[in-house]
């Protein structure tokens, strides 16, 4: 049953009145002018405006809205920050867009245990600033500072600490369509804080990670935070091939050197060197970025590996010596700060902000989005497979004519898997190339999964195909849970876990 029918039957105005009555007029928007701004994002996802945009300010508001939605079986699409590039918060069937922006309080920073309680609308910028005041930091993603930690952390994040601390979430407060709620971590015990994710009971926190709003609405979370140590460093190493870079990061990660490390393809770090005329006008890229990404110009390292470390000053000095030794073992070389500065001053500045100041790079780093529509392809795979994936994926994307072809990659969970994000910027007016890249990405996902044992990163591919169809047993299990928690199938129907909705 599509919402358009449900709403015309039920009288859209009556539901609007009920929503207003329940949580207040200022939190319920139904003017076209507001709805239109929630109908699209930068992706190619088809436009669909919601019927209502709801801006709850607390858990009670969320409960009220979910109960009304449940009563009328109205689809609910949940948004914490809305900063995503693949249409995850574009409603497919109109209904309610639950925008949690206004729930933006940092409720507690527990410096003793090392966790913070945050609401879903808290942005990275506000969170990292609040933590810095207390001498703390959190896992920071490469998304803009206006995105939300919770939105990011709930979607299998690739952040500044995912080498060692893959899962930043400890405890969640979740509200369900019937208005009930649960605390998933140790705070389920009446007097306990949020210091444990699971035990003695099952890990239900994990149930809501990567469930993309299909099972409940998270209204509060406890997330891991870390003290800012006495000293911190960004060490740089240059390699002329990806395989050596992977071997190097595995070695240093397994020897407990970095807090995090990232392998950057030269086209990516050079893309930060976009030049904008002082009086405005067309920005220009370094011309070499149009060349084959597999063949960097002379003097430009194919990969730069950034190794982020923090601790006591003495251990930093020792670690740097160790890194110099290990770099040579894999045929690389240490890249001096001066040389890196010459190669890409903007990237150096971004690394400094991310890993020495522990917050997202400023807006200057986003200039590159001016190059075109950002189109990304992301997988995780074991280290031996990721090397083969890099080789075929870069060539395949380059063959479409899209330029520049960029990537970065990092070890997750001490190198048990490698994250690989390949992307390009396509002129949004070039529909042919956009479609071609979509097509190629779809083929590449198939190849990566079939031939190289990879796992895709989001729940659906660029053409909207959901991966659950490839995991039938898991899909059935997921449906059972979904039916128990959201029997009317109203939460994030985008994910298409099951089609039917009770009449």
């Amino acid at each position: 049953m599509k919402i358009e029918r449900a709403l015309s039957e039920m009288n859209e105005k009556m539901i609007y009145g009920e929503l207003k009555e329940a949580i207040g007029e200022n939190k319920v928007k139904n003017k076209d002018i507001v709805l239109a701004t929630y109908g699209s994002d930068i992706s190619v996802t088809p436009y669909q405006k919601p019927s209502y945009v709801i801006l709850p300010e607390n858990k009670e508001d969320v409960k009220e809205v979910l109960q009304i939605a449940n009563k009328y079986k109205i689809p609910v699409t949940v948004m914490s920050g809305g900063v995503n590039v693949i249409g995850l918060t574009i409603p497919v069937e109109a209904g309610i867009l639950l925008d949690l922006h206004r729930m933006d309080k940092v409720l507690e920073i527990n410096t003793d245990s090392g966790y913070a309680l945050i609401e879903p609308g808290v942005t990275f910028d506000r969170f990292t600033a609040a933590l810095a005041q207390k001498g703390f930091r959190c896992q920071v993603s490469t998304a803009p500072g206006g995105s939300t930690p919770l939105g990011n952390y709930l979607m299998r994040p690739s952040g500044s600490l995912s080498n060692r601390h893959l899962d930043p979430i400890l405890d969640l407060e979740v509200v369900f369509p019937d208005g009930s709620e649960v605390n998933t971590g140790s705070s389920q015990f009446p007097t306990a804080g949020s210091f444990l994710r699971y035990g003695p009971h099952p890990d239900f926190t994990g149930l809501f990670c990567c469930s993309f709003g299909t099972l409940g609405v998270v209204t509060k979370a406890a997330v891991r935070i870390y003290p800012i140590n006495e000293s911190n460093r960004v060490h740089l190493a240059a390699f002329d091939n990806y395989e050596s870079s992977v071997k190097y990061v595995k070695d240093i990660v397994n020897n407990n050197i970095p807090e995090h490390c990232i392998i950057w393809c030269w086209t990516h770090y050079m893309a930060y060197e976009i030049t904008v005329p002082p009086q405005g006008g067309m920005p220009s890229l370094p011309p070499k970025l149009k060349d084959n990404p597999k063949k960097p110009p002379k003097g430009i390292p194919y990969n730069v590996v950034t190794t982020f470390m923090s601790g006591y000053e003495e251990s930093m000095v020792t670690n740097e010596k160790i890194l110099s030794k290990v770099v040579q073992k894999y045929g690389g070389r240490v890249l001096s700060k001066e040389e890196a500065q010459k190669l890409s001053p903007s990237m150096c500045s971004a690394w400094k902000e991310l890993y020495e100041e522990y917050h997202q790079p400023r807006m200057e780093g986003t200039k590159k989005y001016g190059m075109g529509r950002y189109m990304a392809w992301i997988v995780n795979a074991e280290p031996k497979d990721i090397v083969k994936i890099e080789s075929f994926a870069v060539d395949r994307l380059y063959s479409t004519g899209a330029k520049p072809v960029c990537y970065y990659s990092m070890p997750f969970d001490f190198g048990r898997s490698m994250f690989f994000r390949l992307f390009t910027y396509v002129d949004s007016k070039d529909k042919e190339l956009t479609e071609q890249v979509q097509q190629i990405f779809t083929e590449m996902y198939d190849t990566a999964m079939r031939k190289y044992n990879a796992v895709p990163f989001r729940y659906r591919g660029v053409t909207g195909k959901i991966w659950l169809e490839q995991t039938p047993e898991f899909y059935q299990f997921y449906k059972k849970i979904k039916k128990a928690l959201d029997p009317n199938n109203m939460l994030n129907v985008n994910m298409n876990i099951f089609q039917e909705r009770s009449p």
Partner: protein
């Protein structure tokens, strides 16, 4: 932005907005909310980014260009916060800033007859009056003191005709300060036709006619223009080169820069003050974010004996708009609430005096504090009082 730009031309740019909402707040770590609309109603639609999505929806015909859209466009106070912060829209074809796109949508609103007849009449009257003023123009109608007036001087004072009556106090202070400095000055006026207004409010056709037939570019070549109103200065500095082909940028001074230069060169001397005074300086949007002029007013204040400058929480790039250009078309009491937000911030400083350097700011602050008019002054009035 070129006046020939069409709404469809900005599609690539508006399609790139990431919805990061960073256009609504100042830089890390302060993260102050500085977009007045977003502060009023924290909903993405009411932000620079939201307006980019509205432009996109209009182009895609997913939203009707109706009076509601027009009302929201004119509600925006034009504080330039989104222009100052966003790096995505200006780096996307056609390389214009978010507020340019808002101006462009206003132009579309004017073309579609979505602005009130009263407003349109005001503009027509301005143009008519301009014709009258220009045709009856005599030498030095601007009242520049004889001691410094020289029609051939390199430095020209630019005067908004309306200020001769509505902002007489500020204008007289400017003239007295210039007389104390003693440099030869010529004067030009906008003749009552407020070009920045026409541009910001979308009356581009009217402006185009004026520029094509009346504006004397050649007469300004090699001259230095002193501005009292940062809106006019920003227009001359940033807009003319975009909209008039072959326009060579002139050297411009904001009056605060000119005064500072005179103080540093010893052309203007401060009186000895016996009493300490706590002063807070409000950064006008067009002077600060528009022209990047933050230091000269503060440097002047640092040179005045007995002045203790206390900053408001949101200052310089993070300054909050006075609300003078905001309208209440879409939100009730929006303009008033914006102004009061800033005044409350000023009150928290405990300062005796608020200084600003844009006549629009002074007018709106005084209007909202009618019983305490002496608490808000223009910088030039204060300089006039404190110099010999």
């Amino acid at each position: 932005m070129k006046l020939s730009t069409k709404l469809e031309d900005v599609y690539t740019a508006v399609s790139k907005c990431l919805r990061c909402s960073m256009c609504t707040y100042s830089e890390w770590p302060d993260n102050y909310t500085i977009c007045p609309m977003y502060l009023y109603d924290k909903c993405f639609a009411y932000s620079g980014g939201g307006l980019m999505y509205i432009a996109k929806s209009l182009i895609d015909k997913q939203l009707n260009f109706d009076s509601k859209v027009s009302d929201l466009l004119y509600t925006c106070s034009g504080c330039l916060a989104c222009d100052d912060i966003c790096e995505i829209i200006p780096n996307s074809e056609p390389y214009v800033r978010p507020f340019d796109i808002i101006r462009l949508m206003r132009y579309e609103a004017v073309k579609r007859g979505l602005v009130s007849d009263g407003r349109m009449r005001d503009i027509q009257e301005q143009i008519q009056k301009y014709e009258e003023i220009i045709s009856s123009k005599k030498e030095n109608t601007l009242g520049i003191p004889k001691k410094i007036y020289n029609n051939n001087a390199d430095k020209i004072l630019f005067v908004e005709w309306s200020f001769l009556t509505s902002q007489q106090k500020i204008y007289n202070s400017v003239l007295r300060v210039l007389e104390k400095i003693g440099e030869p000055i010529a004067g030009i006026s906008d003749g009552g036709l407020n070009l920045p207004d026409l541009y910001d409010l979308g009356y581009w056709e009217q402006m185009e006619d004026f520029l094509a037939t009346k504006f004397d570019i050649k007469g300004l070549k090699g001259k230095e223009i002193i501005f009292i109103n940062p809106h006019s200065q920003e227009f001359f500095v940033h807009r003319f080169p975009e909209i008039i082909s072959g326009y060579e940028n002139i050297k411009s001074w904001h009056i605060s820069e000119f005064i500072l230069d005179a103080l540093q060169k010893g052309k203007l001397r401060m009186k000895k003050r016996s009493k300490q005074i706590k002063v807070s300086y409000h950064d006008p949007c067009y002077l600060g974010r528009g022209l990047g002029i933050y230091d000269p007013p503060r440097e002047i204040l640092s040179l005045i004996d007995g002045v203790d400058l206390v900053e408001m929480e949101r200052n310089r790039r993070n300054s909050f708009c006075c609300g003078a250009r905001a309208r209440d078309y879409y939100f009730q009491d929006f303009s008033k609430k914006t102004t009061l937000e800033r005044l409350n911030e000023f009150k928290k400083t405990g300062a005796d005096l608020m200084l600003t350097a844009c006549p629009y700011c002074q007018v709106i602050f005084q209007k909202m504090m009618p019983d305490t008019k002496n608490i808000v002054k223009d910088l030039t009035e204060f300089i006039d009082e404190t110099t010999e």
